[in-house]
Amino acid sequence: MRRLNAGGRIDRTKPLSVTFEGRALPAYQGDTLASAMLAGSVSLAGRSFKYHRPRGVFSAGVEEPGALVHLREGDRHEPNVRATTTEAFDGLVSTAQNAWPSLTADIGAMNNILSPVLSAGFYYKTFIGPFRNSTRFWMMCEAFIRKAAGMGRATTLEDPDRYEKRNAFCDVLVIGGGAAGLSAALAAGRAGAQVILVEQDFELGGAILSDPVGAPGDAWLSRVKEELASLPNVRILLRTTAFGAYDGGTYGLVERVSDHLKTPQSGQIRQRYWLVHAGRAVLATGALERPLVFAGNDRPGVMLAGAVRTYLNRFAVLAGQNVLLATNNDTAYSTAAELSRAGAFVTLADLRADPPDDALAIAKDAGVTVLTGHGVLKAIGRKRVTSAVITPVDERGRAAGSTRKVPADLIAMSGGWSPVVHLWSQLYRKPQYDAHAVCFVPCQESEHHLQPAGTAFAAATLDEVIAQGFNRGIEAARASGSTGEAGDPPPPFEAGPFWQKNQSPVWATRKADGSLAGKAFVDFQHDVQLSDIDQAHLEGYVSVEHLKRYTTTGMATDQGKLSNVNALARMAELRGLSIPDVGTTTFRPPYTPVSIGAIVGHEHGRHFRPTRLSPIHHWHMDNGARMTEAGAWMRPWFYPQADEDLQAAYIREAAHVRQNVGMIDVSTLGKIAVQGPDAAEFLNRVYVNGWKTLAIGRLRYGAMLREDGFVMDDGATARLGEWDYFMSTTTANAAKVLAFSEHLLQTAWKDLKVHVTSVTDQWAAIALAGPSSRALLNSVTDADLSREALPNNHVTRAHIGDVAVRVHRMSYSGELAYEIYIPAGYGQHVWETLHAAGQAHNLKPYGTEAMGALRIEKGHVAGPEIEGRTTLKDLGLEGLASSKKPFVGSVLRKRPVLTDPDRPTLIGLEIEGDGGAKPGSLLFQAKAEAKGHGEGWVSSTTYSPALGKNIALAFLKNGKARLGETVRVVNFVGGETLSARVVSHHFFDPEGERQNG
């Protein structure tokens, strides 16, 4: 039990039930899972990625490479959870991952023995396999590798929790709630700016929280917090990570709303994704401590010094009794002194020969043994550090004198500090190397919307941290036009040497000959050793990107937060360059991993995309229709009677239309109002056929091309008035045709006085088709529907009951047919009226499948034929094109390949046999070998009840000349070959007597 009896920022009145591997941990409100593990003397927390080496808690924050666990169970199970950032809650259940059969006896740890063989790039050099033209050998090996890799186990269950997205706007976004960020928020808030302050921790304070309770920082913190709370224009988001900086001053944040509870409360969301649009942002993200490199620096019990201090002061956990502190800078001295005062036996080995006197004094006053010019050569112990070999070192960190072994159950190390520049770097900016501060820092550019401050900007003292934060806050507020008085910065508090660095560039301890005393790691999760960097160098993988990818350093879940600088430093050493000359890799979002669910918000399941419903939709649902997707729309596919399947239903429905009368909901057709004095001219330009002569009350079928001369869409357009046309498009292309029309009218054809407006939503539409359609319609309308008064391709206004509708006489099915356009709100009423009146005429509704059968019988083209690669001629529509006028695509449609007489053109097929063909089958000459791309392909198929046979629409090379020929229809993936006779695609009533009757 390592919990101290007093101190810390935990609430000892609120004990929590927390378990790891079934073992109860002593936890209180305010703990993290990691602090509870340490308090409960859990030294083995996980296993590394490659060698499955034992790993303990290493850090106290987001950079944690080792203590990754499975959190929660069942459908709330979550893998790869960092114990260090997991707030303890009552009922927390966690287990080990990446270990089998157990954490302590992990078979995968055998890899450790093989590690010399598993060196950098070993995959690339082995498993190539003995067999040419076969990948089997590798895939067999790969199966084992995949099982061993991968860290945590994912659940396959659906997530029960809710997520939410929220847009926010502010003048100043402050990222980080430590001394710099608090000062920035205070300044901007006082100046009157709208401020959002985000902090990833569950408490404000940053590094101040790692000071002992009651230290001067506490008073400073509570004063600043109090004032911030009093400013209504400052919004504080705790448990919130700014994960990404994007274009336009947009930042992505994830707020963990209820991850600190066992389950979200009723109605509560789990996480909230904030999209913040900020005028300016202040980057006050602090710095991360770097490890030192020595043999065994990954052993459980080796930790970052700052983390040890955090566990001591914030969580009242003494992580070891016998502490060896290794450092190359001043910050560890506070840690040493505080550990000593807490009762630990502390030895501090400083790689520097001459540390500053004030730091030395603080350590010595606290009873710490300080060994200057000393380093740790090796940590000893397998699943827990037991001792260390220390040595006097020269100015390069090499052993220079006799080594000795000292007992230690904790080695705390500080290799200096790296500013957290991730968000700044994400905006595709390269940080610069500051040789004095020994780290990469952001450049200061006064105009940029993201400004660094504090230790994120390598501020050297607390005074500087506060001043920078405050000034960046004022500047950001002023940039947004806030003019309020910001006053003076909160006066700095008295702080120990923790805030001063005086860092030495030495980061590794080696033997006198420059070699290491064992395995020494730069990347702790991916098990990248210093020797791997050396090997990469030997093999020529010397650029930072090659180094990273070849050794995988920096590619683990911590994304190199700990490893990058040490790896770079080694490569710089090997190449004889400075660190900045070697360069650095690009930081990419997210700063820390974010849940996919959070970013998705409500857009999942049926809300993945919106759904579009016809005004008559609910009638179909209430009357047993089977629905099908058509883009965003739902459409009736067929209306099964009794236990009919699709095949039986559509054949019955299609036959019924030809014999009696049927009706179908065609509200999904695209409808565009084309209005204005130049409307006819506009239509004349976008359609291939002529429109200048269309009289009011008439409608005409038209086709339009893309700019490149291929067919884009077809449909009928009616002239309703002098300047009013009503265009219909296919369901699929409605939006495209509208946007294309708007583009032409607003860019190239600004002189045309035309407006195009979607009226798809305004009108419900019903197609009534079949020999009895006129009689039925007559029974419910006041209009004269006689052949003389309303011939085919004419329009009339009418009433059905008291609803004013428009009746377009036109046919897609080849039958006597009408399309009835009804204001949407009356759509269902009119449908029901027709349905009721239709009982006397044996009316049946039909769905899209029967509609398809009818149009195929008639040889009308639709989506499968207008598939983006077919020309007017291919579709048998060449006759439509006017030669008297230019139109969209009229020039490019004449390119040689588009006019090649040998192109596949639309034909009909009569399929032999009972089964029918499948769309997508290929056509071959009857006796030719079935290979290559074929002579054509089948686009649409149906059983034709009218003809009593299976038919198809297809494209066949030079097809018009091949009527009567027998071709082979091959469906390779269905394992079926059929014979078919090539016929005209106008299968049924080619003269159109029925539709014109």
Binding site: E164, F169, H618, Q762, A824
Partner: protein, 190 residues
Amino acid sequence: MAEVLSALSKKLVSGHYGPAGDAGIRLSGRRLRGLWQLAGWANFETAAASALEALGLSTIGTFQSAQATQIACAWRIAPDKLLVESAHDLGAFNSQDLAVLNLSHAREAIILSGPAARDLLSQLIAIDVSPAAFRRGAFLQTGIHHVGVLIHCVEETDFEILVPTTWAESGWEVLLENALPFGLEVHSNA
């Protein structure tokens, strides 16, 4: 008389949804009095003058601000387009210079109100809807869940959302889904 069937007829079911307690959000629907688009060209304002006069309006107004009179509410939705809610039949004003289009059935009006209404909007649209930025009388054309809508701030916490009819039910469900955590009351009649 045939009744206009709202596209939300299946959705406007009165009741309280989400956590118990005071509802942060109230949702209901409203039947539009009639909706018209007036569109013109270079001389749009002149061409629309008599129609505007009939509606009690003196100008075509400015972008993003609604003009409301006793008998109409007008939104300037584009430089040369006005969307007007009015019971008047404006079809008579159709001319060579003014294209009038009846859209009365093309939109459903969803009424969103309650203390959390602005919070809900901030979940659905990436526009500043704070009271200072989106004031009474202002309107926005934007997208909710990938569908173009018009949102009119009628009162401090009352908003009308004009949704294309065929998307209305889907849009309603998304509103409902996001409103649930606030506590939600649905009123079948406004």
